[in-house]
Symmetry: C2
Subunit: 115 residues, 2 copies
DNA sequence: CCTCTATATTGATGGATATCTATGTATGGA
DNA sequence: TCCATACATAGATATCCATCAATATAGAGG
C-alpha cells in the first residue's frame, strides 16, 4: 500500500474525471420537507405579505388586500399557503383573522443557508 | 385638534377593523428580483445538488447525475437554473464543467430571512 | 332568526416548469 | 481528420400554481 495505492487512486480519478468520493447528498426526504416552505416564499406577492406582516407585528387580513392590489380570495389563498408552511401564525378574533410572523420557522431558513 | 382628532382617528380605526397605518410592503421590483433565486432553491433536486456541491467544495457535472438519479440533460437543466440564479459558479476546464457555491449570494438569502 | 360583514372554498383558465428522448456542440486524443 | 466523450439545447408532455368571479361559511348585532 502506501505510495502505490495513492498512485492507483489518482489514476482512477483521472479516468473518471475527478475524485468520486462525494459525500451523500441531503436526503431526499429532507429536501422534500423543505420545499413547501421555500415554495411558499418564492412568490412576489407572498414576499410582500411577509414584509407587511413583519413590519406591522400583527395584521388582519382585511388590511392586506389593498397594499398588494389583489382580490380577497387571492390574498386569502396566499395567506393559507404561508400559514400551512408555518411561516406565519393565524389567530381568529371575532370575525377577523390576524396574522403574525413565526420567527422559529424563519430561523430554519436562515440556518439552511448559513450553516 | 388634540383630543378630538385622536378620538375621530380611533373611531375610524374601529370601523375599518384595525389601524390602517401599515408600512409600505417590500417594493414589487425587489420581490420580483428575489423570486428567481428563491424558486431556484425551492426544488428537492436542486437542494440536493447544492448540498453535494457545498460538501465537495468543487464538483464536476459528471459526478452529479448518479447521486440524484436523474438524466444528464435534467441535471444540466438544474445546474443552469442554479447558475443563472447566481447560487453557484461555473468554471470550464477542458471538457468538464466544475461548479462551486457562491457564498455571497447565499448570504443574501440569510439576510433576507434574518433581518 | 335575519342580515351584514369577513373570510374561505370552488371551478376555471392561462402560464410556468420538471422531466424525458433526441440532437447539437465542442473538446481532447489517436 | 476522425472518433469518443462531456455538456447543452430543443421539443414534447404532464403537472403544478396564481388568479379571478362566484359561492359558501361563519360570526356579530339587531
Amino acid at each position: 500500500m502506501g505510495e502505490r495505492a495513492v498512485e492507483m487512486l489518482e489514476l482512477d480519478d483521472i479516468s473518471t474525471c475527478c475524485a468520486s468520493g462525494l459525500g451523500e447528498p441531503m436526503p431526499r426526504r429532507t429536501a422534500e420537507r423543505l420545499v413547501p416552505v421555500l415554495k411558499a416564499v418564492a412568490d412576489p406577492v407572498r414576499l410582500q405579505l411577509l414584509s407587511l406582516i413583519k413590519s406591522a407585528g400583527e395584521v388582519c387580513a382585511c388590511d392586506l388586500y389593498e397594499p398588494v392590489a389583489l382580490s380577497q380570495p387571492t390574498v386569502s389563498h396566499h395567506l393559507k399557503v404561508l400559514t400551512e408552511a408555518g411561516l406565519i401564525d393565524r389567530e381568529q378574533r371575532g370575525t377577523w383573522a390576524w396574522f403574525s410572523i413565526n420567527h422559529e420557522r424563519m430561523g430554519d431558513l436562515v440556518s439552511l443557508f448559513s450553516e
